[in-house]
């Protein structure tokens, strides 16, 4: 396992968090009032590049960072993204079976992640499930992520490939 892959993965989720909170913020680029779950998407993309243990740690770390920047209870995104990382690690073999599988898995995992966060938020007293428009906030990020999956995974793949070659030289 190359340490450079872990470093690139961490950088990728940090960049994803910055993009999520700026470019994809409300009032900026959003379709139907909901943005893609970009951090979730990048985490799924990272699952193709690092081993499961590292993937879990990266998922937990990125989740804690999202919790710290967000307004909810600390630990909810950490649990959610750890579960997503675990599931993505288990399903990574399917990614080689074609673009349809990639899009389907990304959609499914994103929607599951959003739903899990709503469920945990409700269990911890945030009343998330009672919010107006909660279904669109669960489903639409999955749709946008499905559209973005292939280009984002391509960019991630290039980043890993180029850094690996650079360090090899």
């Amino acid at each position: 396992m190359s340490r450079s892959r872990v470093v690139i993965s961490l950088l990728a989720v940090l960049v994803a968090i910055v993009i999520q909170t700026t470019v994809l913020a409300p009032g900026r680029i959003q379709l139907l009032g909901v943005a893609p779950a970009f951090v979730t998407l990048v985490l799924i993309g990272v699952s193709l590049q690092v081993e499961s243990e590292y993937l879990l740690l990266i998922g937990f770390t990125s989740g804690i960072l999202m919790d710290l920047i967000g307004s909810g209870t600390l630990g909810l995104w950490a649990m959610t993204l750890t579960v997503i990382a675990y599931a993505a690690g288990r399903l990574r073999g399917r990614f080689t079976e074609g673009s349809g599988y990639v899009i389907g898995i990304v959609f499914g995992l994103t929607v599951f992640g959003q739903f899990l966060f709503v469920l945990l938020g409700t269990l911890f007293g945030q009343g998330t499930i009672a919010e107006p428009g909660v279904f669109s906030k669960i489903l639409l990020p999955g749709v946008w992520n499905a559209f973005l999956a292939l280009p984002v995974f391509w960019v991630l793949g290039k980043a890993y490939w180029s850094r690996q070659n650079e360090w090899a030289i």
Binding site: G27, F60, S71, T73
Partner: protein, 301 residues
């Protein structure tokens, strides 16, 4: 590289369960401490770490994002332009009527020896980031304690109340929007002059509760802050649905926020007004220290 031996799978699963349990413990700890303590320090530190990057990305991408947004809304902008033109003509007529009323008010104040409060001091700030998910009702601004911003101050834009400051670092601050479920605002309905509380629901309209209402509130009635924790008279919204007051029962209805919370860009933080319990806030927190709260921001009536 990715062996699927039984031993390896067990190790991954154990780590997974450990991390989920750790997340659960962290969440429980955070709920118990009401977002304060170590969590508050970590939140402030994390935000300080991300702020320079968020400002940089916001600066670089804002023109591009504005262009994309403009193109995508081109069709809607024409209709909006026509509608606003009609609205301007309507308001011009009202301004003339208001000027006459202002003159009357000035004369009455002079007669009664009343003093008009000075213009409230404000700090203009720009929104440069939001929370990381659709379920976060927070925005980050590019001004902080160095500009005189402290926890608890009201934040407004040209349409009305946006929220209040709930986390401050040197060069940035977090605003908790009035749509957040843990934010409540003491209000007064202008048509009846009765008071109540509006509470956020995460998105969309706010929930209004009036405990001693005797009069009906009608759709379109204006709702303003009552001066308990926010400066009095700031527009909060308009009644969404007519509701009757029943003696002995709570009047409940919805309020459409006055401010377009999904499209705020610039805001003003009111730094020149102290709420009734400002002393409590100031005693607890110095301007340069960590300032978070996950408790209700309201004062009841």
């Amino acid at each position: 590289m990715f062996s699927s031996s039984g031993r390896r799978i067990d190790r991954v699963t154990i780590l997974f369960l450990f991390l989920v349990a750790l997340g659960f413990i962290v969440a429980t700890f955070d709920v118990r401490s009401s977002g304060g303590g170590v969590a508050a320090i970590m939140r402030e530190g994390t935000q300080s770490m991300f702020t320079p990057f968020q400002k940089g990305v916001d600066f670089v991408t804002r023109p591009i994002v504005g262009f994309v947004d403009g193109v995508s809304n081109l069709a809607g902008l024409r209709d909006e332009n026509d509608r606003l033109g009609a609205r301007v003509r309507e308001l011009e007529g009202k301004v003339q009527a208001t000027e006459a009323l202002e003159e009357q008010v000035t004369q009455l104040e002079a007669i009664n020896g009343l003093e008009v409060p000075d213009e409230l001091a404000t700090v203009t700030a720009r929104i440069n980031a939001s929370g990381p998910s659709a379920f976060d009702n927070v925005r980050y601004i590019d001004k902080g304690s160095e500009d005189g911003i402290v926890k608890g101050q009201a934040v407004v834009d040209e349409d009305g109340l946006i929220g209040r400051v709930d986390l401050v670092s040197a060069n940035a601050a977090r605003i908790r929007l009035i749509t957040d479920p843990i934010v409540s605002v003491g209000i007064r309905v202008l048509s009846t002059n009765e008071t109540g509380i509006v509470t956020g629901r995460g998105d969309g309209p706010l929930r209004l509760e009036m405990f001693r209402a005797e009069e009906t509130v009608n759709e379109g009635d204006r709702v303003v802050t009552d001066g308990s924790r926010f400066p009095p008279g700031i527009a909060v919204g308009k009644i969404r649905t007519t509701a009757d007051a029943e003696v002995g029962f709570v009047l409940r209805t919805d309020v459409n926020p006055a401010a377009l919370l999904s499209q705020i860009d610039y805001v003003k933080v009111i730094v020149g007004w102290s709420p009734i319990d400002a002393g409590l806030v100031d005693d607890e927190i110095s301007p340069a220290s960590v300032t978070t709260s996950s408790s209700s921001t309201t004062v009841g009536n």
